[in-house]
């Protein structure tokens, strides 16, 4: 009947996250950050990817084996209200990952739940509430407790603070930093907030339209920007303000061969519309996807 059209939400991305580090992923809305985060955890159907987690290629294992691995990797979703079951009391929501992981006795679970509630800064009285009886910040604390419950090695945090007001945001970020230090977590931090990424991450990548356009150590990137899009995003002043951008004429055209940023790039040259750039190493651990920078 109707032919399905496919859009490449994430395309040719390649990156590594080292144990114990926080990797920031920034980019504008709709550039594929969330998709990338979900892909890593195999929460959406994979097309052609290879994801290696702690030496295990999780793209090749069966669903059942993947389920057994899941407690080791957790995701914190953008909207705390939506990621908690509205019909489940907070306590039950936090018990859930422990029950799914298995191997704990009832008393141990109860103890652990109280520890977690305490660790994320909630009160024991919150345990008996429903998500709709709590504030956004409190719910995000619950989500955090849920993510930590199974003692994961790796957490993908997808804009964990975007729906919260500033003071709560700071509180959650501080909490995440503390927890990360105490528990030696490896984190992928997805955000569109540059201040947050600078504060939280050791290494970072800037995404544009499903591709990583610049990647490296956070401080190095912030101080030595290369890619025109990253410049636009991180330091618009350097280019004399955002100014005007040409309309994005190549929206859904899969035949376009050039650079993804070509239609909006103010520094674009002829070559940019004809040839696709490749990732180039400008310094140790600082890569850029641009052929004219």
């Amino acid at each position: 009947m109707l032919k399905k059209r496919y859009i490449k939400a994430v395309d040719c991305m390649s990156f590594r996250i080292d144990r114990g580090e926080t990797f920031g992923l920034v980019g504008e809305s709709g550039c594929g950050k969330t998709t990338a985060g979900k892909l890593i955890l195999r929460l959406i159907v994979l097309t052609s990817v290879r994801i290696v987690f702690d030496g295990i290629d999780i793209t090749r294992i069966k669903t059942r084996e993947m389920r057994r691995l899941r407690p080791r990797m957790q995701m914190i979703f953008q909207n705390p209200y939506a990621s908690l079951d509205p019909r489940m009391k907070i306590e039950k929501s936090i018990v859930e990952p422990l029950r799914l992981k298995g191997g704990l006795r009832r008393v141990e679970i109860e103890e652990k739940v109280m520890d977690l509630i305490d660790a994320v800064g909630l009160n024991p009285e919150h345990a008996r509430r429903y998500p709709y009886q709590m504030s956004g910040g409190q719910n995000q604390q619950v989500v955090l407790a849920r993510a930590l419950a199974s003692n994961p090695d790796f957490i993908v945090a997808d804009e964990p603070t975007s729906g919260l007001d500033l003071s709560v945001q700071a509180q959650i970020l501080t909490l995440m930093k503390e927890l990360k230090r105490d528990l030696e977590l490896t984190t992928m931090f997805i955000t569109h907030d540059l201040e947050v990424v600078r504060q939280m991450s050791d290494r970072m990548a800037v995404m544009y339209k499903g591709k990583i356009v610049e990647m490296g150590e956070t401080e190095e990137i912030f101080s030595h920007l290369r890619h025109p899009y990253a410049k636009l995003l991180i330091a618009p002043d350097l280019q004399g303000g955002c100014g005007h951008h040409e309309a994005d004429i190549n929206g859904g055209n899969n035949n376009f061969r050039g650079c993804v940023f070509y239609p909006r790039c103010q520094l674009a040259e002829d070559v940019c519309s004809k040839r696709e750039p490749e990732m180039m190493e400008v310094k140790r651990d600082h890569q850029v996807l641009c052929q004219i920078f």
């Binding site: 979900k38 955890l41 929460l43 389920r67 057994r68 691995l69 899941r70 407690p71 957790q74 995701m75 979703f77 909207n79 939506a82 990621s83 908690l84 079951d85 509205p86 019909r87 489940m88 859930e96 990952p97 799914l100 992981k101 709709y132 009886q133 709590m134 504030s135 989500v143 849920r146 199974s150």
Partner: protein, 276 residues
């Protein structure tokens, strides 16, 4: 819970329902006479002290027959809805949650059933299966399950796309776990509502089929067949029809009140407290 008692629909509906269940359970104690006892001496008597609702053409006490008839009606209502719910939930879940070819097949089957007017289909099935209470219930289940399958499927389609389902999957939950612990609790309210409304409809449909002679066979007292019995004497002794008719009306009305009230109370838009 307090809000539920305050809700007038729920209060009226559940009061009548409880009274009905009580009457059905203690029918032998409540009824003044034996509902099947034929007494030609007192044929077609108008309501009196001895026979509060009068007697029918065989001299049977109408009140007693209505009292015993409530057992049949409630039984039919509950069995038909339980059966339809069971089929509807299983097929609706397969259809809505797993989708794909199974979804297409099940939904086309439902469409097929819905293409035939439901009363006509029930009539045809009851006619084919032959008279009797069991066959009557089977015929009604065969007609009724489709609407439950559709409601279940629709509710699952909206719930399964929500983030907390994905979050549960991320925790390592299996499909079965997600269905039982996350999907079912979240689709329960619409199911409760349509099931309650459905009981009323099933009782009405069962009375209709019995009226036409497909349901419960004489001398078992049943409201629909009592109407049929009184048809010939409608002019001379209208109370033979009036009282069973009222019984059907009040019962169906009670379940409709209850269903409407539950719909108001279970809808989270009206229920949620303000977060603090």
């Amino acid at each position: 819970m307090r809000a539920w008692i305050k809700n007038r629909n729920i209060f009226i509906g559940s009061s009548i329902t409880v009274a009905l269940i009580f009457i059905a359970a203690f029918a032998p104690q409540v009824a003044p006479h034996d509902p099947t006892e034929i007494n030609p001496m007192v044929r077609l008597q108008p309501p009196s002290k001895e026979y509060p609702f009068g007697t029918d053409h065989m001299g049977r006490c109408i009140l007693s027959r209505i009292v015993f008839g409530s057992r049949i009606s409630l039984l039919v209502g509950v069995v038909v809805i339980s059966g339809s719910l069971l089929i509807g939930i299983v097929l609706g879940t397969i259809s809505g949650y797993f989708g794909g070819l199974a979804d297409d097949l099940i939904m086309r089957l439902v469409d097929g059933f819905l293409a035939i007017p439901s009363m006509f289909l029930a009539l045809a099935l009851a006619g084919t299966l032959g008279p009797g209470m069991f066959n009557l219930m089977m015929a009604l289940i065969a007609v009724e399950w489709t609407s439950y399958a559709r409601v279940v499927r629709g509710s699952i389609l909206t719930v399964k796309e929500q983030e907390f389902v994905e979050a549960a999957r991320g925790l390592g939950a299996s499909d079965l776990y997600i269905l039982v612990h996350h999907i079912m609790p979240n689709i329960l309210s619409p199911i409760i509502v349509i099931a309650t409304l459905g009981i009323g409809y099933a009782i009405l449909a069962a009375a209709g089929l019995s009226f036409l002679g497909f349901g419960v066979q004489p001398p078992t007292p049943e409201w629909g067949s009592m109407l049929d019995d009184g048809r010939l004497f409608m002019r001379k002794a209208p109370y033979i029809m009036i009282f069973p008719g009222l019984a059907i009306m009040i019962t169906v009305l009670a379940f409709n009140f209850l269903g409407d009230g539950l719909r108001d109370e279970l809808d989270p838009r009206f229920r949620k407290e303000i977060p603090h």
